[in-house]
Symmetry: C2
Subunit: 386 residues, 2 copies
């Protein structure tokens, strides 16, 4: 019998948005949920305790990075990433497929697996669907992703088909590996293995992949191959199409999105989980979320502003410091600027999700999204202070 | 009548080390005390709340930097640096003299003051003894330093004499300015103006400067012109000589020292206050204090080490993370590495000071220093793990 980890709490009557709960080894996750990215076992610029304090109990780690550094042998001695990184919430790890696609050199995909060279030292490695399950077992991932073939936008139907077929084959092999770990190693798989839908930007392939992955024994489904450089229009079209064709009984995850507009778009399509480095990366560059769009902290109009980044925000940047101070931090390249802006962006997104959940519970998500984005985009997505 | 802010608590019978209290506008400071440096109104890599949590209630800011950025007009609108930077403890600001000496270009010293070009944008500025008092009044410094002429080691007796004479002249002008602020501006000077002893590396000039500055109406005395590139032997000799010739009834401050060995040397000579960027700067480079010397976190022997940086240390790096994780953070250039190492070094120094205070109260500081340094230097000051 399939493992069930998702409970629907409320289905919005105005659109496909929904609230729910995912039961995971390190606690129940309320959805929709944004996941901060902790590539190397740390969310950049913030203590894990502060990530938890904001309200997050599910963060993302990168299998590719953790496999290269600190390496599996180190993580084994800690019985996984939770102990190693002082994080007692849940961890989702990606499969490494996307990083092999985007970071490493000399990538060669065979049916057996993918050969690649480390972006750090050029050393040669191979990921197979089985090995990626094993690595995530060592990491102790609460949600583990199957190895997939992530294809770039613009490639032919035939190439996309081939990538999809290998992905489906690897999905089966990942499930077999997961189910045989107890016999092979004496320890059952600790996490929840999610399948990944591919199919590029071809409708027939997307539908086929969505249906194929949905039909397999995965407790959750991810939509891969989006947010890889395509137009927003294509993103929205293929997100909607894929979402329509995957099961609604499992948690649904779109990989790599993290701006308010993309997040709200995903929620409207009944997506439960999303992650992106953007919230933390732009923060370190001094760009922060507000209800009126993105605000660049180093801009001169902040020089004498005693007000916070965002009125009503509960983060330390907004409750303890002024825009004038935040500007000063970024003008001086002070670490505290990035630390505070990171805390702000993660707090802002968490609070945005809370507002979205409330709107769903009250069957008004569609109008909430519309009103929110009207204000967010009023200045072209750029915050302009008087 | 002279303002008295220092109370002697205990004079060690084994040496000149002493404990005391300095009464300042933002609370009583126990001495000896190390002051973390917050050049731009932030101690690099750590929240001010965490600096306070460690136990510090006196930090240092740099007048030169704060004058250039965010600028006095910004600080005026916040009624000073405390509000601006969310720090409710005490602040000592240096006079800017040392930064003009070390950072700026085209420095020209006249009797009137010192002309210099900003190291940021080349803009031209002048500091006079009066202006530096005024700037620190805007900053709201609890301890303000008079403008002095910091001379390099190796210059002639005659040049050193000239620098000292100007320093003494500027001392008088600073006092006059401080005492006339109420009349000039309607607001009395908020802080405590400290004098600075100069005299370079000439015994007669050092003694003369120590006696001259001691005799003036300053509530505290700083020893300047040390730790400017001289040998440790010269440092110790001129520290001892200067310390012998300044009053013991006022707080005594040596500028620019921050390693355990120099700090203990200063305490043994009856010094109450010291500051240095080294604790926080080396931390960001992955070098941390331990009882066994300095430890470089990225070294390979830490790779599988589950132990803390320093057994018994109360900081988050030591209580929540392993050496293996700290190494991983520095290998990956993760901000959290510098954040945690900064917290460790500041915690370590604060705890070292607490141990020193206890040893003084028990009249055994001289033997405490000897034992501590024997262990600290056992491996040449480098920590070697088995």
């Amino acid at each position: 019998m399939e493992k069930r980890i998702f409970t629907l709490k409320h289905q919005d009557t105005s659109c496909k948005a929904r609230t729910g709960e995912i039961k995971l080894p390190h606690g129940v996750v309320q959805t929709p949920a944004f996941m901060p990215v902790g590539t190397n076992g740390t969310v950049k610029g913030i203590h894990h305790d502060d990530v938890a304090r904001i309200g997050y109990n599910l963060i993302l780690g990168n299998t590719y990075h953790l496999y290269l550094r600190p390496g599996i042998e180190v993580l084994k001695t800690f019985d996984g990433l939770h102990n190693f990184s002082h994080w007692n919430g849940n961890i989702l790890t990606d499969s490494g497929g996307f990083q092999v696609f985007s970071l490493s050199q000399l990538r060669r995909i065979h049916e057996e697996g993918v050969k690649f060279q480390s972006h750090i030292d050029g050393s040669r490695h191979i990921f197979t669907p089985e090995k990626v399950v094993d690595i995530q077992q060592v990491i102790g991932s609460d949600i583990a992703m199957m190895l997939d073939v992530c294809s770039a936008p613009g490639i032919s139907w035939k190439e996309t088909l081939k990538a999809m077929d290998i992905t489906h084959l690897w999905a089966e092999r990942a499930i077999v590996r997961r189910d045989s770990l107890l016999d092979l190693t004496g320890r059952a798989f600790r996490g929840n293995l999610f399948g990944i839908v591919q199919g590029g930007f071809y409708e027939d392939l997307r539908i086929k992949s969505a249906q194929t992955i949905s039909s397999m024994d995965f407790p959750g489904i991810a939509i891969g191959g989006l947010s890889v450089g395509e137009s927003k229009e294509d993103f929205c079209r293929f997100l909607a199409l894929t979402a329509e064709n995957i099961t609604t009984t499992k948690p649904r995850y779109v990989m790599g999105i993290g701006t308010p507009d993309y997040i709200l778009e995903a929620i409207e399509n009944g997506i439960d989980l999303f992650d992106c480095v953007l919230a933390t990366r732009t923060a370190r560059n001094g760009s922060v979320f507000t209800d009126d769009g993105m605000l660049t902290l180093s801009r001169s109009f902040n020089e004498f502003d005693h007000g916070p980044i965002q009125e009503g925000c509960t983060c330390r940047a907004c409750t303890e410091y002024s825009l004038a101070y935040m500007r000063h931090m970024f003008k001086c390249n002070e670490m505290l600027g990035g630390m505070l802006a990171t805390e702000h962006n993660l707090t802002y997104l968490h609070n945005l999700i809370l507002r979205a959940r409330k709107a769903i519970e009250e069957n008004r998500f569609a109008s909430f999204k519309k009103e929110y984005l009207e204000r967010f985009y009023a200045n072209g997505g750029r915050c302009v202070r008087s």
